[in-house]
């Protein structure tokens, strides 16, 4: 049974820093799926995510409607944003701490998440003592600790080395299963690996091409022969427009 869309954009217009990024753009984001937003730098991908996060500095016209269970969001960006003065466990619980909701149940949940991500040995470690991959795993767990249906991820793996990136993509896919994920990336391989569907943004103001008939379950193997036509299609769209 098809679920109603998680987010619906209608006639969205955004002018940001003197540029019209979106001009009467209308599209929907499916609920319970990972939607990758793929596009070159400067096409408005990150601005769209910041707009969804409720950033008051991005003026827009048109309408953005959320389905009721998608009002609360989780956020993950390219830099891990772990607080250097808190240990990993406290960083994972940051949201609860900021809202004054620290309790035993949440402590246990953070401990369990750290175990699942293979970080239980480091739960008392300071971020400065961890590798880039471990820190980004910590940032992913902090996002997952938030009891929300909608996860906004802004190029979260782009600063990592290739192998760590692959491992984290798999972990993120496994741990976000069933939630609505909006993942911004400029890497076609990452979009093919993680996206249930892909929205390709091109040009300024942005035009969108939706690719939603991707075969198989995520995480996929984007280098396989089966995915080659999709990869070519993505490259062609990115270079020549929809």
């Amino acid at each position: 049974m098809n679920r109603p869309p998680a987010i619906h954009f209608e006639n969205l217009c955004v002018d940001f820093e003197g540029t019209r990024l979106f001009d009467h753009l209308s599209f929907a984001v499916s609920a319970g799926k990972c939607t990758c937003i793929l596009g070159p730098s400067g096409c408005g991908k990150s601005t769209l995510l910041r707009l969804l996060s409720g950033n008051p500095d991005i003026p827009f016209t048109g309408s953005i409607s959320f389905s009721p269970q998608h009002y609360r969001i989780g956020w993950m960006s390219q830099s891990d944003l772990l607080l250097p003065w808190m240990c990993l466990h406290d960083n994972v619980m940051l949201g609860a701490r900021l809202r004054g909701q620290v309790d035993e149940k949440r402590r246990r949940k953070a401990t369990l998440l750290l175990e699942r991500a293979g970080l239980s040995a480091y739960e008392k470690a300071l971020p400065a003592t961890l590798s880039g991959g471990m820190r980004q795993r910590g940032a992913l767990l902090r996002t997952l600790m938030e009891e929300c249906e909608l996860l906004l991820m802004d190029e979260p793996f782009s600063a990592l080395d290739a192998l760590t990136r692959l491992k984290l993509q798999d972990l993120a896919t496994e741990m976000t299963h069933g939630r609505t994920v909006l993942l911004v990336t400029h890497d076609p391989m990452e979009a093919l690996r993680m996206g249930d569907e892909i929205l390709v943004f091109t040009g300024v103001p942005a035009q969108i091409k939706r690719i939603s008939d991707l075969p198989g379950d995520i995480p996929r193997r984007p280098a396989s022969a089966e995915m080659a036509p999709y990869y070519q299609d993505l490259l062609s769209t990115l270079m020549n427009g929809p």
Binding site: S53, G54, N55, I73, G74, W75, S77, S79, L81, L83, P84, W85, M86, C87, D90, L94, G95, R97, L98, R99, G100, Y122, K124, A125, L126, P127, A128, T129, E146
Partner: protein, 254 residues
């Protein structure tokens, strides 16, 4: 290693001092050598100790009050943009007038006792603390604040969990500078008008041509200032444990 370095530097300084005395042939009433000064420290220690207690009390009181006032001023400026517009010029003007020029006025207003010297020290300490803490808080990573906002943090918890800890390294730098300059305020105040303290003792000894005692007071003051700086430096380094994490665990501060 640190102790070794300090000992080598101290020995080098003493040797240089003795060499200058020997090379210039300066009489003892102009530049006494390290040995007569050491003898003066030992011989007049009870007197020096009495005056040192006064000066130390002035420095520590000034440091505590100046740091508190500087911290409060910085926090007020961050919380209220309106008050910031009024306080920031006052802060700058407070540094534009040399504290040395204010010393006679402060002694006139607050008397020859400890209050005028503490006020001098406070005036010197206030600016580095307020300025560094304020700018440290202003430089808080915007992405961290955005993350906190998305997570539903109140202004109070953003301030407590993110803004203040972000500014602590800058605050620590300001406090180090304040500690290094704090003795200036106390001693200048004692020069202008007092009946106790190392500054008073130096003037008194100088007027009687007891230059070895004057240098003894100067040496004690320098040593105590250095000791105070090392204490504050160590405390700051221990508080900012994340700046130099030596192991994988830590004690929580929040």
């Amino acid at each position: 290693m640190k102790i070794h370095r300090i000992l080598i530097l101290a020995a080098g300084g003493l040797l240089l001092w003795q060499l200058v005395v020997a090379a210039t042939g300066a009489p003892a009433y102009i530049l006494p050598g390290p040995l007569p000064v050491a003898r003066a420290i030992v011989g007049h220690w009870p007197e020096l100790w009495h005056h040192l207690q006064t000066t130390l009390a002035e420095i520590v009181s000034g440091l505590v009050i100046g740091t508190l006032l500087g911290t409060i001023c910085a926090v007020v400026m961050i919380l209220s943009p309106l008050l910031k517009r009024w306080l920031l010029p006052v802060l700058v003007v407070s540094q534009a007038i040399p504290v040395f020029a204010l010393a006679p006025v402060l002694v006139l207003w607050l008397g020859y006792g400890m209050a005028s010297k503490v006020a001098m020290a406070v005036l010197i300490i206030f600016f580095p603390v307020a300025s560094s803490f304020y700018h440290g808080m202003r430089r808080t990573d915007g992405e961290l604040l955005e993350l906190g906002r998305i997570m539903g943090a109140s202004k109070t918890s953003l301030f407590y969990y993110i803004i203040i800890p972000s500014a602590l390294p800058a605050f620590g730098s300001g406090l180090r500078v304040a500690t290094a300059v704090a003795p200036i305020g106390a001693v200048v105040g004692e020069w202008v008008g007092s009946s106790s303290g190392l500054g008073f003792y130096m003037l008194h000894a100088n007027a009687r041509m007891q230059i070895d005692r004057m240098f003894a007071a100067l040496t004690v003051l320098a040593l105590v200032s250095l000791l105070l700086y090392f204490i504050i430096d160590t405390l700051v380094a221990k508080t900012l444990y994340w700046e130099n994490p030596k192991d994988l665990t830590h004690e929580k501060i929040l």
